[in-house]
Amino acid sequence: MVEEERAPVILQFAPFQSAVDEGFWRRLSSLKLDTLGIDQSPITITGKFELNLFAGFYSPCSHPQVSNHLTLLPESLPPEPGEESSSSAAAAVSRGNRNRCPVPGTLYNTNTLESYYALDKQSLLKAEARKIWEDISSGKAEEESAVLSRFLLISFADLKKWSFHYWFAFPALVLDPPATLIDLKPASQCFTLEEAESLSAACNEWRNSSLTADVPFFLVTIASDSHATIWPLRDWAACQGDGQKLLFGFYDPCHLPNNPGWPLRNFLALICLRWNMEKVRFLCYREKHGFADLGLSLVGEALVSVPQGWKDPHCVPNAVGWELNRGKKVSRCISLRQSMDPTRLAISAADLNLKLMRWRALPSLNLNNLSSIKCLLLGAGTLGCQVARMLMAWGVRKITLLDSGRVAMSNPVRQSLYTFEDCLNGGNMKAMAAVNSLERILPAVEAEGIVMAIPMPGHPVSTQEENSVLEDCRHLQDLITSHDAVFLLTDTRESRWLPTLLCANSNRITITAALGFDSYVVMRHGAGPLNYSSDIKSEGEETLSAQMGNLSTGGTDERLRLGCYFCNDVVAPIDSTANRTLDQQCTVTRPGIAPIASAIAVELLVGILHHPDGMLAPGEIATSHSGSSEQPLGILPHQIRGSLSQYSQMTLVGHSSNSCTACCSTVVSEYRRRGMDFVLQAINHPTYLEDLTGLTELMKSTSSFEVDWDDETDENDNDGI
């Protein structure tokens, strides 16, 4: 009062701040999907739909440094279909919740970003302000004070990107001239001790009764005997006694010591319009630890005057209230991709198991190696399907499947990537059907299908076919050099010859799985016999296996190379399907064999990837006592042979043969020298390879050639589908 000549201080209100729970956007998304559909043109003429929200929520400020926000929760929206019952119960619970004072609101959700931008925000705000104005004029606001605060939300839900554009408004009627401040200070400085105690007690009682806990506007009287009473607005008349102090109280979400919060604005409008007050004492009610705190609460005194024109019944006052975004008038955007994009969720969920494995059991597990390695699967049958699945389980994401066949009716029960639908209309190409299936299993997989037959020795080609066969050979060569690991999973022995040669030439990790009726062999091929310099231009130059191959190029001392699938054979591959009965051709194996062999093949790959020597690692033999290997994944064998008839399995080592028809240096050198001519000759002349490698000589000189296990499983030429 000392500075009365000073210009009047305009009372400034701290704007409401919005907060939207992630769950709100989720429910809005499903609501939109259920009611509007995502790809359809706008259903309503205006291209938007309007929802009367149940409510946003707020509560009095409860922290000296943090304002409370107006919060939208999933419960702010109508319940999703199918959960009506439970959420109606939830709605019943939420009434009278002291932490959730409802604020009525309206949502305009547009169908396109363009229409979102095109919304006439001023008119929308004005329409909301009109509702407040009418509720004040009609007296409804005195009965149900929650309608004094309202909010408006415009939004565009981009459900394909899981992003939400939105903008809040908290409409406030503008007093013109604005209210001026006489005094504002902590409530604790405005009362006697007795008054303060009584006021706190009354407030706490109000806040703890389920009838009044969520009623945000109220009247406070303090009688001359210091007794404080809190009244709902409708009891205005009862508060008019002489000799008592009257305060207009409201739940203040704001924490600032020098400003009241936003809800006071419309309250002041009501006070001056309905009750013709000019000097208003107000109480900004704030809490601490769930109880009234008069140190944080403010008591202020303001001068208000009814703006000209408000007396006109048709008038709607100006309104303000669009929320600023970091001080600017811009829309907000929130992205929930991370928690809503199912593809992302599937990836992180699939990786979780591997991560757990790494954390708990195998700290050295290299998940990056697994997810970056490129695997080529030759054959998409029983073995190919199962190997692909196992690879995905290990976190391998780059898988190429090569097969020339179609899905037959007999396939789906054994070949785990196919279903009945794949067999219809002549059957889909296996390579493509397998890729589709992998993508359905995990959308993040990078799978590719190649429809191609592998040229085979003993299957002579006519001159007309020559070009296309050579084209296939080159294609296969490119595929192998552009992958890190190759699985040989075809159903004949001779179809493995060319891939074995190409892998030996370019030092790729190569794993073979082959099946008999109730037995299997799984083996990793040794490194190639010659240094692999990238003279064949390939994009695989820096691939994993090339790096691993380079490990060997330094040393000159010949380590014993591990053998390949053909190293122990004394005959070159020939047509193994000719002159066979049907059940021998479509090798009927016990159904459990292929999954066992496939799983072992993939485990073998993972073992190679985690061995410091990679594909050069010497073959290890299982011993009776465990823990003999220093590798966390255990031993890394060369070959695993097993039989279901005895439920037995053993590990073997076989070194490379100098007369191998697929991987010896003679063959690889000849291939390097003559390229496709060599391949063509091998394909067309069955004895050429044997002559070249000296096998013919060898057979002449040796009457019997037997490897110790061969008497047990001699079904190499009886490979599974």
């Binding site: 009372l11 209100f13 939207v20 992630e22 440094q65 303000v320 929130i334 992205s335």
Partner: protein, 266 residues
């Protein structure tokens, strides 16, 4: 339940409820500054799993636990300076991110209103919600949590890690039993971050068997379990709990007479 050497460190679901009640009460008494732990009943159980103890269904929830990125961190849930600086860095880079905000032609400008307080830059805050959910598979409590900015934008794992005090990061990196993963919240069916429970029973067993022997009138395992569990797990996520919480001499409310619902918030 008495502690004996054969105890495997797990908790039954009904004991979990008892422990939850104790934790909630103790928290409120010792820690009134923090938001409370509130029991959230979950009636949404599929009808075919109706069980006799269906009232146990639910979880403990502590929400709106905030971390200020300002320097006026006078309260106890403040974050340490280094993490704070990191946080400030994040927020600065985040502000300049163009994806976050966009201009909208608003046509007619809102009338100038000098009664609106123009606040200087808003304090950037990160809020955290913590839920303690009982895992039927592991028979232990599991902590689920999420962090978000004041506008509701969820925090990514690396942002959360930057909020954590250094010793929490140390625990997360070096300890075998704690690692954060994103998993579906069992009741809310949205992805939340969680500390995987696979080691919980083991270290809980160590915690109880290795600690002081319980006196006869001391709190039982069911009562003490969650408090002890939280004292360990909370450290990993920056939710520190006062020593008094763990102290057995702290008076316990009679657990049977307490119902948890509609607790006051802060």
């Amino acid at each position: 339940m008495d502690i004996c050497s054969s105890w495997d460190g797990t908790l039954s679901s009904s004991d979990f409820r008892v422990a939850a009640t104790t934790l909630s009460k103790k928290w409120k008494v010792i820690n009134p500054v923090f938001p409370p732990w509130t029991w959230v009943p979950c009636p949404r159980r599929p009808f075919w799993v109706a069980s006799s103890d269906s009232e146990v269904d639910g979880y403990l929830s502590l929400e709106n636990f905030y971390q200020l990125s300002s320097n006026e961190v006078g309260h106890r849930c403040s974050i340490e300076t280094q993490a704070l600086n990191n946080l400030v860095d994040v927020l600065c880079s985040y502000k300049s991110s163009p994806a976050k905000e966009e201009l909208v032609n608003c046509g007619k400008e809102e009338p100038v209103d000098n009664a609106t307080l123009v606040q200087s830059d808003d304090q950037e805050m990160h809020f955290y919600d913590f839920h303690i959910v009982y895992s039927n598979s592991y028979r232990v409590p599991v902590l689920y949590f999420r962090g978000y900015q004041s506008d509701g934008q969820l925090l990514a794992l690396d942002e959360i890690e930057r909020d954590l005090p250094l010793n929490s990061l140390k625990i997360l990196r070096e300890s075998k039993w704690t690692f954060m993963t994103q998993e579906e919240h069992p009741y809310l069916n949205r992805p939340w971050y969680t500390l995987h429970p696979c080691g919980t029973s083991e270290w809980m067993k160590l915690l109880f068997l290795g600690g002081d022997s319980q006196t006869k009138d001391g709190p039982t395992i069911q009562q003490q379990y969650l408090v002890s569990w939280l004292s360990v797990v909370g450290q990993a996520v920056g939710l520190r709990i006062p020593l008094e919480m763990i102290n057995n001499s702290c008076p316990l409310y009679p657990v049977n007479s307490v119902t948890l619902s509609n607790e006051v918030n802060d």
